[in-house]
């Protein structure tokens, strides 16, 4: 098998047909997450910068955009953590991005993905704080697992190992003002209306036995915005409970059920 058949002729293009190899049985853990269908086009959407837009007029643009990006990043993070062997670069970049978003949201943000009535700011802040801790906890626990296993399996490395040198890393990145971040050059989720805000997110990528209900519940209710009282998919209590559990971090923290009950 191999590159063995020469087609065509003359002095022009030579096309080599490659005899396909037999399919190997792929272990499920080795399957990378499927890349969902690429979007046909990427429209530039800056609706949230348009002061005439009803949602914008009422809502702080930064908050709405940040919170949807936050949700997306949380999804990505959890999906990445659920891989049998996460791509460390991807993980680190998503976590750093998440921290940036959080830092910009922290001052005044309410937590959007909760249906009406909106949560009390105090609860939202604590949810944000706890979700950060939960994220750190889940990422840290996974990475600790990796390093623990590394200690078991690694071939002894002689001589030059003067001990692991931790990079001096800052904790949270410097707090970035929300408006600084959302300059005109950045696009955000690209849809014309709040209703369609999450329509372009293909959550099939994040499908798992645990995530299926939660993905629905992440469609945002409109925190502010007249006449856009959301036709959110009805969140039943079970879904909301699950969402809260995820945000709060069932592995690390126990919190009373969030608002919306």
């Amino acid at each position: 098998m191999g590159w063995n058949q020469r087609l065509g002729g003359g002095s022009g293009v030579w096309l080599f047909r490659r005899t396909p190899i037999s399919e190997r049985m792929m272990l499920s853990k080795g399957l990378k997450r499927k890349r969902e269908e690429e979007e046909e086009g990427l429209a530039v959407d800056t609706w949230w910068l348009d002061p005439g837009h009803p949602a914008v007029a009422q809502a702080p643009a930064a908050t709405a955009a940040s919170s949807s990006l936050f949700d997306l990043s949380v999804l990505k993070l959890h999906h990445s953590l659920r891989q049998s062997e996460p791509d460390l670069r991807h993980l680190v970049l998503v976590v750093n991005t998440l921290r940036r978003i959080q830092a910009s949201m922290a001052p005044a943000a309410t937590l959007p993905p909760v249906p009406s009535p909106p949560p009390a700011p105090g609860v939202a802040d604590s949810l944000l704080a706890s979700s950060d801790a939960a994220l750190s906890a889940s990422m840290a626990s996974l990475l600790e697992d990796l390093s623990h296993i590394e200690g078991l399996s690694q071939v002894p490395q002689p001589l030059a190992d003067e001990g692991p040198l931790g990079r001096p890393t800052a904790g949270a990145p410097p707090s970035l003002g929300a408006l600084d971040l959302l300059g005109p050059a950045t696009g955000c989720l690209l849809d014309d209306s709040l209703e369609g805000l999450f329509e372009d997110i293909d959550t099939s990528m994040y499908d798992s036995e645990l995530w299926a209900p939660a993905s629905e519940s992440l469609k945002p209710g409109p925190v502010e915005g007249p006449g856009k009282e959301e036709t959110t998919p009805e969140l039943d209590e079970a879904e909301l409970d699950y969402l809260m559990d995820v945000l709060v971090g069932t592995q690390a923290l126990e919190r009373p059920p969030g608002p919306g009950r």
Binding site: G41, L93, L190
Partner: protein
């Protein structure tokens, strides 16, 4: 067809060779492309763990027009999927990188690596076969010694040329994280392999030991904010190497300074442009490839939107910045959503360091002439490549009126990405990998 030579630093003919699989399976996706030091051989690795080597045809007076075409020389399975029983993880067989060793005898040597294991392969030709053994018959079966009454000297007889690849060394069990780079040292005795957090130095002769020369793993993994993305040895100074990070920085290290090169000798970083700040600033600044120029004076880095050339003597900013596809800057949110923003594009120098090349989406690839500051966008596609014609430059229209031959940003196909390219060390021949297709373009022959 019109000649668009005035737009091009070089005129590239469409492929003499397009190599592709008849069935596009995941395993056929090309994951690395590399010319050897003379340009006579071109190696590709794919997701299925196979290596295919092409050899350039010798010049022939009889068929002048066939000069310089590449044909398949050898194919072998370099890596197989493995299972790490300790961690219950499958190890992909995908070839991440191939690097050739300089040729020192009749055989060719190359390093190929997947996520965890580096292998040294010897590719050699055999065109003679010994015949006339005493203890074996012609089929290789052992003969009963008691039946042998005379002795003869085996002779070498010609046979059909056979190219065989044999694994000579296997360098395993030294990387906890995924190997992203390998680089052969100019001393030709050592090489390095880099994963997300560590870089190891190997001697070609020793497979059960490696020296750790860079370790950025924090004591507390919760503090991890940065990973190694690429690494390369200096082309002439065997003590010097660079590595890039996910935060857009490059560190140059000197192995003479200490055994563990945790303290860099030079630190290259460009300050962030405040007008372009966004949530995605860090992701798009993450360097996906770093390459020394052939001269050793410059390094080139590729991040998501740009290619930068740095002078080794100036650390605070690059000397040149080239926009690869700046029209994507306003679409970062979508590209983050569909993970395209994490794509890792490579970049290459031409032989004289005057032109640099890198890939983009929609099977486009870009070339930048450092001297004239001209750039061109070309496309690797069957439809646009007719025999004997000249590649037509492409243009992306960012808004407003679209001209006839332009393509709109919204029509770009983000599943067709050119991540891997290679440039012949001395001639204007380039190899471009587009998913499962390999295009080899040559400069116009007079």
């Amino acid at each position: 067809m019109k000649c668009f030579s005035r737009y091009l630093p070089y005129i590239f003919r469409p492929p003499n060779t397009i190599l592709s699989s008849s069935c596009h399976t995941e395993a056929d996706i090309i994951s690395t492309v590399e010319f050897n030091h003379t340009g006579e051989l071109l190696a590709t690795g794919d997701k299925g763990g196979r290596v295919v080597i092409f050899q350039r045809e010798q010049e022939s007076k009889n068929q002048v027009h066939r000069r310089g075409e590449y044909n398949v020389y050898s194919t072998f399975q370099s890596h197989e999927p493995e299972f790490d029983y300790l961690k219950s993880l499958e190890i992909e067989e995908k070839i991440n990188k191939i690097r050739w060793l300089p040729q020192q005898n009749a055989a060719y040597f190359l390093l190929s690596t997947n996520d965890k294991t580096v292998k040294l392969w010897k590719v050699s030709e055999r065109d003679k076969r010994p015949e006339g053994y005493n203890l074996k018959d012609e089929e290789g079966r052992l003969r009963d010694p008691s039946t042998i009454t005379t002795l003869r000297v085996p002779v070498l007889r010609p046979m059909d040329l056979m190219v065989e690849a044999t694994p000579r060394r296997v360098f395993a069990n030294a990387h906890t994280y995924h190997i992203n780079s390998i680089s052969v040292n100019s001393d030709y005795e050592t090489y390095m392999s880099a994963d997300d957090l560590r870089i190891n130095l190997w001697n070609f002769e020793i497979t059960n030991q490696s020296f750790n020369i860079v370790d950025i793993k924090p004591a507390n993994m919760e503090e991890l904010t940065e990973v190694i993305t690429a690494a390369e040895f200096h082309p002439h100074h065997c003590n010097t190497f660079v590595y890039s990070s996910s935060k857009g920085t490059i560190r140059l290290c000197d192995m003479r300074a200490s055994a563990l090169c945790d303290r860099h000798t030079k630190f290259f970083e460009e300050p962030e442009d405040p007008s372009n700040r966004s949530f995605f600033s860090e992701i798009i600044s993450s360097i996906s490839d770093v390459k020394f120029s052939h001269s050793g004076r410059y390094i080139m880095t590729r991040d998501y939107l740009t290619v930068k050339v740095w002078d080794l003597n100036m650390e605070n900013r690059p000397i040149e910045t080239y926009q690869v596809h700046d029209y994507l800057r306003s679409k970062l949110c979508s590209l983050y959503e569909n993970d395209c923003i994490f794509d890792k594009f490579e970049c290459v120098w031409n032989g004289s360091d005057s032109v640099i090349m890198t890939g983009s989406y929609n099977n486009f690839f870009r070339m930048f002439d450092r001297n004239t500051k001209r750039d061109v966008t070309l496309e690797a596609s069957r439809e646009n490549s007719k025999p004997r014609a000249i590649l037509k430059p492409r243009k992306v229209c960012v808004g407003g009126k679209r001209r006839k031959d332009e393509i709109s940003v919204d029509s770009l196909d983000f599943s067709k990405k050119i991540l891997h390219t290679a440039w012949h060390p001395s001639e204007n021949i380039i190899a471009v990998a587009a998913t499962n297709n390999l295009y080899i373009f040559q400069d116009k022959v007079n």
